[in-house]
């Protein structure tokens, strides 16, 4: 499958997930957005050597993946983009920070190794959190949450249009590339002689399409702001859900919960 086809599939897949009528999907979008930001903020605020404390934060994705019927494999696939840079930055820590902090049999564990694992764990947890958000919330609802946060309507409408047309233009680009590869077999990528014309044609068509979209929007009564339909009101259980998780995150951040629980069993 080509890169473009994969992207189209991924967008459709995420759309399908977000439109499901699950318990998690029905939580108010602003609650989920605020909770995700709070979770990511808490995760990245852990000190670089606090691997044990950070491990406690795994409880959120663990619980939500189960109750939300989300695929763990799908979320792991998303790590392919983020992990290389995180690994590049973290892989050097064991070489520069060689202070021994413990041993595992005959193997000496250094502070650099701990900070490297912590960094990678942070990378994984933050990606999982954003996956939970997007897999249970549609872009329309996220944009609604952004409007509630007073993000300008102008920007939100543009964002929604971009999202709406991403799949359309991806499909168009895919068709162009398919036609090109049939005419230029065994060639990796687009030949430099047609860099301009191939992409330029798509660009001109996109510009023309923008004009048509605007006319259609005007015909449907567009006056500068996108209307989201009926307002989505947060219910009591939405606030409760937010409060519950915020307390859990604060608890794991401030106390060595895993150590305390472990201490109950190890005399």
């Amino acid at each position: 499958m080509s890169k473009l086809s994969k992207a189209i599939y991924e967008i459709h897949h995420m759309d399908t997930l977000a439109n499901q009528n699950q318990w998690m999907n029905r939580i108010h979008p602003l609650v989920k957005f605020v909770l995700t930001v709070f979770y990511i903020g808490t995760v990245v605020s852990f000190p670089k050597y606090d691997m044990a404390g950070l491990a406690g934060m795994m409880v959120y994705p663990l619980v939500v993946f189960i109750i939300g019927d989300l695929s763990f494999l799908d979320s792991i696939y998303r790590l392919r983009i983020v992990l290389p840079l995180v690994c590049f930055v973290g892989l050097f820590n064991p070489f520069f920070d060689r202070v021994p902090v413990g041993t595992l049999g005959s193997f000496t564990i250094t502070a650099g190794m701990i900070s490297m694992v912590t960094l990678m764990l942070k990378g994984i947890l933050t990606v999982l959190a954003s996956y939970i958000l997007i897999a249970t919330t549609t872009i329309e609802k996220l944009c609604y949450a952004l409007r509630l946060l007073h993000v300008p309507a102008f920007f939100v409408t543009q964002l929604m249009l971009t999202y709406r047309y991403v799949s359309v233009l991806l499909a168009e680009a895919n068709r162009i590339m398919q036609a090109y590869s049939l005419r230029a077999p065994n060639q990796k990528g687009v030949h430099f002689k047609v860099w301009g014309s191939l992409t330029g044609q798509l660009l001109l068509r996109s510009m023309d399409r923008a004009g048509e979209v605007y006319e259609s929007m005007c015909l449907r009564g567009y006056t500068g702001e996108y209307h989201f339909g009926d307002a989505i009101h947060a219910r009591g259980k939405d606030y409760l859900y937010l409060l519950f998780w915020c307390c859990i995150f604060a608890l794991f951040r401030l106390l060595p919960v895993l150590n305390l629980i472990g201490g109950l069993f190890v005399a």
């Binding site: 991924e10 967008i11 990796k188």
Partner: protein, 332 residues
Amino acid sequence: MHMADALVVPAVAATMYACSAVAGGFSVKKVRLESDPKKIPVMGIMGAFVFATQMINFSIPGTGSSGHLCGGMLLSALLGPYAGFLTMIGVLLIQCLLFADGGILALGCNIWNMAFYGCFVGALLIWKPMMKKGATKGKIIAASILGCVLTLQLGAFSVSLETLASGVTDLPFITFVSTMQPIHLAIGLVEGLITAAVLCFVHEARPELLWGIQDTKKKEGRFSFKTTMAILAVVAVLIGGGLSLVASANPDGLEWSMQKITGSTELESEGTVYDDAAKVQETTAVLPDYSFKGSDSVLGTSFSGIVGGLVVVAVCVGSCYAFKFFRKKKTA
């Protein structure tokens, strides 16, 4: 160059969010001032276009590898820095949410590193000044390459600074920078070439779509009155004063034909009318036979050329203005 959440601490993320929010707020204000309702769909679809084309691999000749389009520079060349910046924010937000390319917390950093430099620095400091006097293919290529290289270098440097400020790596700053900058120099060059190819195509097909050159484009090919006069004067001096010195001493076509028939290059006319006309000409001619009166010097020939040229220019310009004057009168 998308930064992940794990690479920043909350303080750095918040600072970069604040910086990006200021730039975003300023851009919203600027775009609103344009009060062009068509701008929103164009921005939305251009965002989708950049997103889609960034998935296309462009093969780099002789390397076996491929490159991608530089979104920031392309958007600012088409939409301007403010609308381009907002569109890039949309693209980065969707990339971060849908494809986990960058993080929600690191979005402020990514906006600054990619959208701010790409749109503001690329458009206002490179594209606009270079296109001030109209766009040419060469200028577009130069601006695209320079813009992409510079903005990517700035972005890569910012990534290093933000990572250093976050304290997540033990990698020395100099080592990190010296790894990031050369990689992004190569990426910038390739992205610049791809962006240049697309912008050159747009310039040839629909030049009115390019930002910052539309007004000057109308003037292209027309010189101002002063410039036209100066050029004509210089050309007249050069041709009349310089080239007249190397004029052929041989008879021209008509003279040559006459010489063949009559044996002389000049026709002898007899009669009072001819004599009177010749006397008037001798009296009024400033430079008889293209020389000063009573002299046959080279200087005289040059001077006559210059004067002749200027007189021709004056007659031509005068005729044109007279034509325009009478035409205006007729239409009125």
